[in-house]
C-alpha cells in the first residue's frame, strides 16, 4: 500500500513537468546520481564521482567553495543595492541614508554586503593557506595556483573599489591614501622615484589613470563604481571559470600519492 505522501511524490516525479526539468528518474540509483550531476548545468561543474578523501571537511574546510558562495552572496546583495545607489558625489551619501532609513531592510542588505565582503577576504586567504599547507600547488597544479593568486588580488580590488562607494569620510580617506600610493610608483607615478625619466606628472601619471582627476572626486567615484559593479566581477568570473575547470582537469583536488 502506498501512503498518501508516496502517491503524491510519485505523481510529481513522474509528471511531464518534473521530467522536463530533471530529465531523469527520482529513484536513488547510481545511474540517477550520475545523471543528476551531468544533466544539471549548475552541478556539472563537479565530476560524477570523487575520491572519498576529497569529501573530508577537515581537508578542505570547504574554503574554496565558501569563497565562491560568498561571491554569489555579494553579487545578489550588490545587485539589490544598485537599485538605490547613484555614483555621483552629490547623491552617493544621501543614497546610503535613503537605503538605511527609507528602504525595507536596506541597512541589513548593506550589512550583508559589507560583512560578506570581509568574510570573503578571510576565506580566500585561508583557502590559499590550506592549498599551501597541503602542497596542492605542486605540479600539475602550478598554473591553477597562479589563477588562484590572481583571484585573491581581484577579491582585494573588488573590496577596495567598493570601499569608496558610500562616499563617507572612511571611504574618501582610505581611497585617497590608497591611490596616492599609486602616485609613488617608480617611473609612471608623479611622486615616485625616476618619475622624470618618462615625464610623469600629476596630470598624466598612473594615479590620474585610476581617478580620472588629480584627486578623489566625481570621476573617481564613477570609475570605482563601474569597476566594482561590472569590470572586476567580469574578470573574476572568467578567472573563476578557468580556476574551477582546471581543478578538474588537473586531476581533482589533491590527494596523497
Amino acid at each position: 500500500m502506498m501512503s498518501q505522501n508516496q502517491r503524491l511524490r510519485q505523481a510529481i516525479t513522474t509528471s511531464q513537468l518534473y521530467r522536463s526539468i530533471f530529465r531523469h528518474d527520482y529513484v536513488d540509483s547510481l545511474r540517477n546520481r550520475a545523471l543528476e550531476v551531468t544533466s544539471n548545468i549548475f552541478l556539472h561543474l563537479h565530476p560524477v564521482t570523487i575520491p572519498r578523501h576529497a569529501l573530508s571537511v577537515r581537508f578542505t574546510f570547504c574554503l574554496g567553495g565558501l569563497t565562491f558562495f560568498l561571491f554569489l552572496v555579494e553579487t545578489i546583495t550588490g545587485l539589490l543595492l544598485m537599485f538605490y545607489y547613484r555614483p555621483v558625489p552629490d547623491y552617493a551619501y544621501i543614497d546610503m541614508k535613503t537605503l538605511e532609513y527609507a528602504a525595507q531592510f536596506g541597512v541589513v542588505l548593506r550589512n550583508l554586503h559589507r560583512w560578506g565582503a570581509h568574510l570573503m577576504v578571510v576565506t580566500v586567504m585561508l583557502h590559499m593557506l590550506r592549498v599551501f599547507l597541503t602542497g596542492s600547488y605542486r605540479p600539475p597544479r602550478e598554473f591553477n595556483w597562479v589563477v588562484g593568486v590572481s583571484l585573491l588580488v581581484m577579491t582585494l580590488l573588488l573590496s577596495f573599489t567598493g570601499y569608496l562607494l558610500p562616499w563617507d569620510q572612511l571611504a574618501f580617506w582610505a581611497v585617497t591614501v590608497g591611490t596616492n600610493m599609486a602616485a609613488a610608483t617608480p617611473f609612471i607615478g608623479a611622486e615616485g622615484p625616476f618619475h622624470e625619466v618618462l615625464g610623469a606628472q600629476p596630470l598624466n601619471d598612473v594615479r590620474f589613470l585610476l581617478l580620472g582627476d588629480m584627486k578623489v572626486g566625481s570621476n573617481a567615484l564613477l570609475r570605482f563604481y563601474v569597476l566594482h559593479c561590472v569590470g572586476l566581477p567580469l574578470f573574476a568570473i572568467v578567472a573563476m571559470m578557468v580556476h574551477f575547470w582546471r581543478v578538474r582537469k588537473d586531476g581533482g583536488i589533491s590527494r596523497p600519492l
Binding site: 528518474d25 550589512n111 625616476f194 578623489v216
Partner: protein, 256 residues
C-alpha cells in the same frame, strides 16, 4: 528499464537519506570513490547554510560603519585603510610609499605566483604535514603571520596621528612628537645591503648543499631572493624601532 525504476521508487524512498554512508548499496564499484550527488553536494549545502546563518546574524547584529559625508578638508584622525590593507598602511611608517604601496605588494603577488615553479617536489602532497616540509611551511607561515600581525597592529594599536596607543590608553591624551631619525650613510648602507644579499645567497648553499642541488641555479636564486626580501621587511622594522634608522640606503634618486 525505466518502468521498473519508477515502480521501485517507494522502496528507494524508504532507504536511509542518500547522504549516509550506510545507504546506497549500488555504490560498490570502488570503496574509495563517492558519488558527488549527494555525498559532496549535501556537504556543500550545509557549509553554505552555516555561513549564511553566520552572515545573517552578523548583519542583523552589527551595522556596517558609515561616517559623516566625505570632506576633503578634514582628514579623519586616524584615517585607516580597510583592514585587509592596514598591514600595508602600517608598512608606510617604515618604508617610502613606492616600496610599501607598490614594491612590496608587487613582490608579494609575484612571489606567491612563483611558489609552484620553485617548489616542484612531490613529497607530502595532498595532506597536512609540518615535519616533512619544515622549510617551505615555516617561511610561508612567517610571511602569512607577518601580514596578520601588521594588520592587528595597524587596526588595534594605532591611534590619533598613527601613534601607538595600547587598548587601555585614551586617544584623547596626545602623544609627544617623535624624536629625530637618522639614516645610514651610503658607505655603510650599500655594503650592508650587499652583504645581506650576498651572504644570504651564499650561506644556505654552503650549509645545505642538497638544497642547491635539488633546486638548480635559477630556482635556488629566486627562492633565496624572495625569502631574503621577506625577512628584510621585519629587519627594517626592527632597525627603525630599536636604532631609529629612517633609511638603510640613501641615494639621490630613491631611499630604502
Amino acid at each position: 528499464m525505466d518502468s521498473t525504476e519508477v515502480a521501485s521508487a517507494p522502496e528507494a524512498a524508504k532507504a536511509p537519506p542518500a547522504g549516509s554512508r550506510a545507504g546506497a548499496p549500488e555504490r560498490s564499484a570502488s570503496s574509495a570513490a563517492a558519488t558527488v550527488f549527494p555525498d559532496l553536494v549535501y556537504k556543500e549545502f550545509l557549509a553554505a547554510l552555516l555561513v549564511s546563518i553566520l552572515l545573517l546574524v552578523w548583519a542583523l547584529a552589527i551595522n556596517a560603519p558609515l561616517l559623516p559625508e566625505a570632506n576633503p578638508g578634514k582628514t579623519e584622525n586616524p584615517a585607516k585603510a580597510p583592514w585587509y590593507f592596514v598591514g600595508l598602511q602600517e608598512l608606510l611608517v617604515y618604508f617610502d610609499p613606492w616600496i610599501a604601496g607598490v614594491g612590496i605588494p608587487t613582490l608579494i603577488i609575484v612571489g606567491l605566483m612563483a611558489i609552484p615553479y620553485i617548489d616542484t617536489s612531490h613529497n607530502a602532497t595532498g595532506r597536512y604535514t609540518l615535519g616533512e616540509r619544515r622549510l617551505a611551511i615555516g617561511h610561508f607561515l612567517f610571511g602569512f603571520a607577518l601580514w596578520w600581525v601588521l594588520i592587528v597592529i595597524g587596526e588595534f594599536l594605532r591611534g590619533p596621528n598613527w601613534q601607538i596607543y595600547w587598548p587601555w590608553q585614551s586617544w584623547l591624551v596626545p602623544k609627544s612628537a617623535e624624536e629625530k631619525l637618522w639614516s645610514f650613510p651610503w658607505w655603510l648602507g650599500l655594503p650592508l645591503l650587499a652583504a645581506y644579499f650576498g651572504i644570504g645567497l651564499w650561506l644556505p648553499r654552503r650549509r645545505w648543499p642538497w638544497l642547491y642541488e635539488r633546486l638548480g641555479k635559477s630556482r635556488y636564486a629566486s627562492a633565496i631572493l624572495f625569502t631574503l626580501l621577506l625577512y628584510s621587511v621585519p629587519i627594517k622594522i626592527f632597525l627603525r624601532l630599536l636604532l631609529r634608522v629612517k633609511y638603510v640606503l640613501v641615494t639621490p634618486w630613491f631611499n630604502i
